[in-house]
Symmetry: D2
Amino acid sequence: MIEKTQLIATLLLSCADRKGLVAQISQFIFQRGGNILNLDEHVEKEENMFFTRVEWDTEEVKLNRHEFELEFTQLAEKFSADYKIFYSDKKHQAAIFVSKYEHCLQEILWLNSIGELEADIKLIVSNHPDLEPLAAQYKIPFHLIPVSQNKREAEAAELKLLIENEVDTVILARYMQVLSDECEREFPFKIINIHHSFLPAFIGANPYRQAYEKGVKIIGATSHYVTADLDEGPIIEQGVARISHKDSLKDLISKGRELERSVLAKAVKYHLANRVLPFGKKTIVFE
Amino acid sequence: MIEKTQLIATLLLSCADRKGLVAQISQFIFQRGGNILNLDEHVEKEENMFFTRVEWDTEEVKLNRHEFELEFTQLAEKFSADYKIFYSDKKHQAAIFVSKYEHCLQEILWLNSIGELEADIKLIVSNHPDLEPLAAQYKIPFHLIPVSQNKREAEAAELKLLIENEVDTVILARYMQVLSDECEREFPFKIINIHHSFLPAFIGANPYRQAYEKGVKIIGATSHYVTADLDEGPIIEQGVARISHKDSLKDLISKGRELERSVLAKAVKYHLANRVLPFGKKTIVFE
Amino acid sequence: MIEKTQLIATLLLSCADRKGLVAQISQFIFQRGGNILNLDEHVEKEENMFFTRVEWDTEEVKLNRHEFELEFTQLAEKFSADYKIFYSDKKHQAAIFVSKYEHCLQEILWLNSIGELEADIKLIVSNHPDLEPLAAQYKIPFHLIPVSQNKREAEAAELKLLIENEVDTVILARYMQVLSDECEREFPFKIINIHHSFLPAFIGANPYRQAYEKGVKIIGATSHYVTADLDEGPIIEQGVARISHKDSLKDLISKGRELERSVLAKAVKYHLANRVLPFGKKTIVFE
Amino acid sequence: MIEKTQLIATLLLSCADRKGLVAQISQFIFQRGGNILNLDEHVEKEENMFFTRVEWDTEEVKLNRHEFELEFTQLAEKFSADYKIFYSDKKHQAAIFVSKYEHCLQEILWLNSIGELEADIKLIVSNHPDLEPLAAQYKIPFHLIPVSQNKREAEAAELKLLIENEVDTVILARYMQVLSDECEREFPFKIINIHHSFLPAFIGANPYRQAYEKGVKIIGATSHYVTADLDEGPIIEQGVARISHKDSLKDLISKGRELERSVLAKAVKYHLANRVLPFGKKTIVFE
C-alpha cells in the first residue's frame, strides 16, 4: 500500500527477454532520483517475453514528466519495449455501461466513493432508464441510449460521448448488448466485461441455465478485456462458488450476483491500479 | 456419523413427487422397528421428481432382509419408485483402473486402508506395469492388461475379471484409455472417472495445456459417472484451485494433481456411502 | 426453493432423541393435509438431542393455524419438545443497529429490497447521525440514540422502540456499542452480531490490528447470536479470505469489509428463513 | 518455474529500507554476469524494513561462489543487511520427526520422491516404532528415540543425529512431543511444525475437540517455524475447510488430516525453495 500524499509513478513495460533488464531499468530510475517502492517482473518462458511493473516515489526526481519520458524512451527503444508510465495524480477516466441489473453498477460506484478504486467515473450509459436514480445518487451523468432500432447510430453516439469525456476505460457492468466488431476495433480504450460463467465453460446466452442443466457443482464468473471475439478476450479475474442439487436456477442467479460484482470489482481495481498487462490471449496481473 | 458396531440399512429411492412420501416411507420403517438415524430428501421441481436417502438402525427390526424387501417393494410399487436398500455389513466391491500416474491410486488405497472409504478393493487393472509395486504394498491383486493391440480383447478380459470378482464399482484413477461404447453399455457396474479439468471447460485431451493457453485464473477437476458420452456423465464432485501468470504448465499439473486425488476421493467416498442418486445428466449428492 | 404464491408453514423443533420422531412428525402433518416440501433433521449424538426443520404446503390443511397448533402441542408434549411454527405470510420484524460503517447496513437493506431476505425492516437505530441518508434512501425510519452520556437511558429508549415495533430480530450491523448484560437478558428477541475476526481468534478490540501483528495468512469474519458473553454467542456463519505480507492493515480492513457484509448477510438470511436452531454454545443451520 | 539443468543462485536479503536497494543489488548481479530470472521485494512500512529474493542464472558469472560472496559481503555491509545465498546444486538437508500419524510423513516423502520438494531427507526420528515400514519403503534411515523416561537424554541423542547428518531443516510432521526450550535455543536449524488448528484459535491440546465444542463453521491448520513460544512461532502457511453441524468430532479429524498434510507440504515447499523470510513474529513468503 502506498501513502496517498506521495506522487507515485508506475511503469508497465513488456519486451523480448534479455539479460540485464531489471538492473538497467531500476538503475535508470535510481540515477534520476526515483525511490523504487515496488518492482514486479515476470518472464513468459515459452514466448521469451519479459514484463515488469515498477512504482517509484517521484519526490526527488529532478526531471519533469516530459523530460523523464524522453530519456526513458531511449532506454525502451534499446529493448524494443512497449511501455507506459502512469502518475498517481492522474486517475483513469472511466465510463460504465449498464442495462437493468444494478448489482455491478452499485458495487463499482460504492467502492469508488469510499476510495477503494482509483477512477474518475465520468458517465454512465444505459439502454434502459431503470438505473438513472442510482446514477443520480452518486451524482454521475446518466445517458440513455436505446439500441433496439439503430445499433450503428447508438454506438456512434456512445463513441462521441466517450471521446468528449476523454474516457480511457469502459466498464461493461452487465451491459446486455454485444458491441459490434467495428465499434470494438475503433474504441481507443480498454473495455472490461463481466461474464456470468466460469469461462470457457458456458459461453453465450443464459450461462446459469446452462450450468443448472449441466448439473455442475461449482459456478463462476469471469472478468475479461473485450476484444473482437465475444467472451474470448484476455481473462483478468475469475471467481467461483459452490452449489448443490438444492440450488434452484433462481439460487444460482442469486449466488452468481455476488460473484459477478466481486469479480468485476477486483478486475476493475487491478486495471485502474495499472496492475494488468495483457499479452496475446492472456494477462499478467501483478497483485 | 454412524457408530460402526450398528447394523445400518440405507435406502436410496426416487419417484415422481406426490403428497405423503416422507410420511409413508418413514412410517413404514418405524412400524417395522427401524430407528431412523438420518433422512434426506429432495424434490426436483422442474421435473416433479422426489429423491430420498434414509438410514436406520436395524437392531429392533423383526423382519429379515428378504422379508423387509418384499414388503417394501409393495410400497415402492404404489409410487412407481426406483429404489435400492444397502446394508452396512456388505461393502461395495470395487476395482481400480490405472495407467502410469500414481497419485489417485495411492490416495484411494491409503484412504481405504485407514477406514475412510467403505470398499473391498478386489483388484487393480492397468495397461502399464508401473504401479504394480504400489498395488503389492496394499496387497491388492494387480492385472496387467495392455490395450495397444486389441482393445476389444482387452475389454473382454477386463469384463471377465470384473464379473468374476462381483465388482459393482469401477474407479478410473487417471486411466488413460477411453472405454468403448459397447463396453460401457454392457458394464453392469457404476464407473467413476476423474477428469483433470473443470468440466464442461476443456473437454478432451491435454486440459492443463488448454487451460494454460487460455490464461484462466482458476483450474479444476471433475469426478463423474461414466456414460456413453465421453466426459459427459453426471458430475458427482468438482474442485478448484487458483493459479496465476507465475504458474508454468508444470505448476498447473502439480496443483492439478492435488485437486484430482482430492476430488476423486470425495466422489468415491460419496458413492461408496450410498449418498449419490444420478438423475438424467445430474446427480443428487446427500452430503 | 419455494414458490412464493404458496402459503408455507415451517416447523423448528428440538427434543431428546428417541425412536420414531421423524415418522410421527411427518405422519402428523400428512394426516392433516400438509404436503411436506422439505424435511431436515439432525441428531447430536454426544448430547442425544434431536433437531428438525419441516416445511409444508398448507393449501389442503383443513385446520386453521390455532387448531393446528393446539393439536401439535399435544404431540410435542409427548416428546417434551421445544418447537415453533412459522408461516410464510408473516415475515420477521427486524431492527438494524449501526454506528458509522455503512457496508453491512447497505448490504442488508439492498438484499431485502430485491427480495433476497424475508424481513420487514421496521427501524434503524444508530448512535451517530452518519447513516441517516442511507436509511432515508430505503425509506426506513432512522432513530438517533447517542449512548455516550447515559447508556442505561439509551438502552431503555431502544428497548421501548423495539417493543413498540414488535421487533423479533435485532441485527447489529457493525454497531460499536457493547449491549449491557441487563439489556441482553431482557431482550425478548434474537440479536445477531457480526464480529470482524475468525472467532475464537482475536476476540476483543481491533481484531484486524491483532491479525496484522500476528502475521496470519487468512482473515475471517463471524456472525453469531448475542448472549451475555461478549463475542461468545453461538456461531451462525463464518467466512475467510487469504492475505499475504503484501497486505497492509488498510488492505486487511478492505478485504474484511467484503467478508463482514457477506457473512452477516448469510447469517441473517438463514435466521430469517427459520433455518437456525441454537443449541447450547452451537447452532444447527439447515442450509 | 526454473529449468532444472541451469545452476541457479538465490539471494534472500533483509535490511533497513533505503533508496536504491533494488537498483544496486540487481546492478551488482548483472555486472558480474548473472542473468536475473526472478526478483521479488517487499517493504514493511511500519518497521521500515526491506526484504528481497533474487534468482539468477550463474552460467556466465565469472567469479566462483567464494569470490562472489566476498564481493557481495561488501555491498551487504554498506546496507547492514542480513543475507544468504543458496545454490540449486546444494539441496537442503532435512530430518522429519513423527509420532504415530502417518499422513504428514507420507505426503512429504511422496512429494519429495516425485521431485515436488527440493530436499535430501537424511533421517526420520520417532518416539514410536509404528512408522518404520513407511520410512523403509522410501529407504530413509529411521531412528526410534523414545522420550517417555528421559527427555533431556532423548533430545541430546536427537541433536547428535542432526549434527552428524548436517541437517539444516527439521520437519515436525505431527510430532507429539514438545521440544524443550533449551533444545530449541540450541538447535542451529530451522524447525517447521504443523499445528492442527487455525492459529491463534485453539492453541494447545485437542484443537479439534475445542473446535467441535465451540461450534465453529470452519476449521484450519497452521504451519509455522518453531520458536521458544509453543504454537507461537512465525506462521508460514494456513489452510481452512468448511464444516457443519453434520460433522462429528471424527469427521473434523478426517477433514483436518487433509488440511494438515496439504498445509505442511506447502510450508515445507516454500522453505526448501528459499522463499520464506521470517521477520519478528511474521514471515514474508515470496510465492
